[in-house]
């Protein structure tokens, strides 16, 4: 019987083979249709389908390779620095370094056959592979190594957060340690004596941290828009340095402060913290009351109480020599001359603010004002914009009490020597009866003094804040 069965089977063989081929063909056709419906495209000859990926908020293309989602080197290049080093691909970014072997066997690369290195940790995970000669990287492995969250079609970076602030005391320097969950761009600014460490695009809980450190007794964390600011007072004669330390699971920003740190802060920056204000009340004879001196003294008193450094060129007891006045003018950050208009026969009255114009006797001042850009040049020589801003502030402050005119004056002996903002304030005219009556009133003198003090303080505060732009920037991890 056995040979008969065998013969019968052999007789049916062509039919069975035909049936098998048909089933395989139907299966392939079904898979083709399914693939087309899901992704709309397919790479022929492999289990690859194209898909859409939201990569840190940006829509890009990914591929699905044997069930695992991959993105190309080009696609990821906007976010990470990817370098091929022989059979290994090195991925740097977000404060992490990943080493992934390139497995040319696409099926095997999607398994945990390979060992990858995520920062200092080695583990079995999907690895990079080549598709049509192009490098592709597995998104789940990247997310794991970069501390990002991932689900199919969605690769999300964690919100940059300042997690902890800690400190360590040292003999001649203290250390402030800022721990963040991921890379950050750090900028440091010295505003007067306050050092501000700006963590770009970072969330932080506003809080004041008190330390036991001698050089950084406290640090203030604030949120300004999308940036977190860590600020503290820089002690005298202290230097500072800000640098990042990349570690697994986040980034650490270290700030060292103290006399033990060499100070590379330009001496010019210290001028911002302690600017010199010079008030020059001109001696006006034959007008009775010494109004220019009264206004200067009262304004100086207000400014000194607020912590500003003010010098007067004249006191009741006497006045400085012309060479001393010129010397003060050259050192000044704000120079304000006070005068009363005098001219025979004129009926002119009113208050006028004159802005210093024209060339300076100093070659350096002229060179910088004519457009030569020097390092820290703006701290050495102020442009005409500074004088204009101070003039606008002063006229704004006077607006409520008097009508103030604006003019410019060149070749003034003292004003032309100045390198920074310089104005002449004409408080009125001696030949005008209304002006004389106004200047005799204590209220008017008080109004002038307050306006002078407030405008100068506002101008210098803004100047200190704007000049901190010259500070440095540290970028950690992220591509610029």
């Amino acid at each position: 019987m056995r040979p008969q069965v065998t013969q019968a089977a052999f007789a049916r063989w062509p039919q069975l083979a035909l049936l098998s081929v048909a089933l395989v063909g139907i299966g392939l056709a079904g898979a083709q249709i399914a693939g087309t419906q899901v992704s709309g495209a397919q790479v022929p000859g492999a289990q690859i389908t194209f898909g859409k990926l939201n990569l840190a908020g940006k829509q890009v293309q990914s591929i699905n390779l044997y069930g695992a989602e991959y993105a190309s080197e080009t696609t990821l290049g906007d976010l990470l620095t990817i370098k091929r080093q022989g059979a290994i691909v090195r991925v740097e970014g977000l404060g992490h370094v990943l080493l992934l072997p390139i497995d040319e066997d696409q099926v095997r690369s999607t398994t945990d056959f390979n060992t990858v290195q995520l920062d200092a940790q080695r583990l079995k995970a999907r690895t990079a592979t080549l598709v049509n000669g192009n490098l592709y990287l597995p998104l789940d492995t990247l997310a794991r190594g970069l501390g990002a969250s991932y689900q199919t079609g969605q690769f999300t970076l964690a919100t940059r957060t300042l997690q902890t602030v800690s400190s360590r005391t040292g003999k001649d320097s203290d250390r402030l340690v800022l721990d963040l969950n991921r890379e950050v761009t750090v900028k440091d600014e010295l505003r007067g004596t306050v050092l501000r460490v700006i963590l770009k695009g970072t969330l932080a809980k506003p809080q004041r941290y008190t330390t036991r450190a001698a050089f950084i007794p406290y640090a203030e964390v604030t949120q300004e828009g999308s940036d977190a600011i860590v600020s503290f007072t820089l002690p005298q004669n202290s230097g500072y340095r800000v640098y990042p330390v990349v570690r697994a699971g986040g980034t650490r920003i270290v700030v060292d402060v103290g006399p033990g740190i060499p100070s590379d802060i330009p001496a010019l920056m210290e001028r911002l913290a302690k600017p010199l204000i010079v008030l020059d009340p001109f001696k006006v004879q034959g007008t009775g009351r010494d109004v220019t001196l009264e206004v200067a003294r009262q304004a100086a008193e207000l400014l000194t109480k607020a912590g500003w450094q003010v010098k007067l060129t004249r006191e009741q007891s006497g006045e400085l020599s012309i060479s001393d006045r010129l010397s003060l003018a050259r050192q000044s950050d704000v120079y304000l001359a006070l005068d009363i208009g005098r001219f025979p026969g004129t009926t002119r009255g009113g208050v006028t603010v004159y802005e210093n114009t024209g060339s300076s006797p100093s070659l350096l001042v002229n060179t910088v004002r004519n457009g030569k850009v020097l390092p820290y040049g703006s701290l050495v020589v102020g442009d005409v914009g500074g004088t204009r801003r101070l003039s606008e502030l002063l006229r704004g402050e006077l607006k409520g009490s008097v009508t103030t005119g604006q003019d410019s004056i060149a070749k003034m002996l003292t004003l032309s020597e100045t390198a920074q903002a310089a104005l002449l304030l004409e408080l009125g005219w001696a030949g005008n009866a209304q002006d004389r009556a106004n200047l005799a009133m204590q209220g008017r003198v008080q109004a002038f003094s307050v306006a002078v003090a407030r405008s100068i303080a506002t101008y210098l505060t803004a100047r200190a804040n704007n000049s901190s732009q010259v500070a440095s920037t540290v970028i950690t991890g992220a591509k610029p």
Partner: protein
């Protein structure tokens, strides 16, 4: 005869001639010098010239040009400049109430020297006692500068009483003034 011949020897004759020449020379050098004659006085003819002289407006803000006619003997730069400075110090010569003289009446005019394109205005000491404010002092110096430089480019250096000085009170006199320093 022999004695006469000895007396009129050649030597004696020559000595006599020399003596006579010396006596004449002595007489010539002792003669008083001739009194020089007065040169014949030739009166230079004055003729009128129109010059633009700058003054102040009533608000001491803008310079006001006024065309003045002055009498000059010649039209050299120095003579014209001095005539303009004299007219500048003497008053406006205008009835326009918006034009103010820049110095009080009877204030002496500055002495003007010209060297090429450089003018030197020597202000009398009275100018240091004018007690002008800063804007008034600027008007004083700039109207004179513009008056002197009205027709020629150049610069004006101010002296006080023949000496270089830093300032009259407020403005810088260490450097020369140009038209650009004195725009309205």
């Amino acid at each position: 005869m022999n004695a006469l011949r000895r007396f009129f020897s050649l030597f004696n004759i020559l000595a006599l001639i020399l003596l006579a020449a010396a006596a004449y020379a002595l007489q010539v050098v002792q003669r008083p010098q001739a009194t020089p004659q007065m040169p014949k006085l030739e009166m230079a003819e004055l003729h009128p010239v129109k010059l633009t002289v700058y003054y102040s407006d009533s608000q001491v803000q803008n310079m006001k040009p006024v065309v003045r006619t002055v009498q000059v003997t010649e039209e050299s730069a120095g003579v014209l400049a001095q005539a303009a400075a004299d007219a500048w110090a003497a008053g406006t010569g205008s009835k326009d109430s918006d034009v103010l003289p820049v110095v009080p009446k009877n204030t002496p005019a500055p002495r003007i020297y010209v060297r090429g394109l450089h003018y030197y205005a020597d202000l009398p000491a009275a100018y240091t006692k004018l007690n002008y404010g800063s804007s008034g002092e600027r008007m004083l110096l700039c109207t004179l500068t513009r008056t002197l430089l009205d027709k020629r480019d150049g610069d004006v250096t101010f002296l006080v009483n023949g000496q270089s000085t830093d300032t009259l009170g407020h403005l810088d006199l260490q450097g020369a003034y140009t038209r650009q320093d004195c725009q309205n």
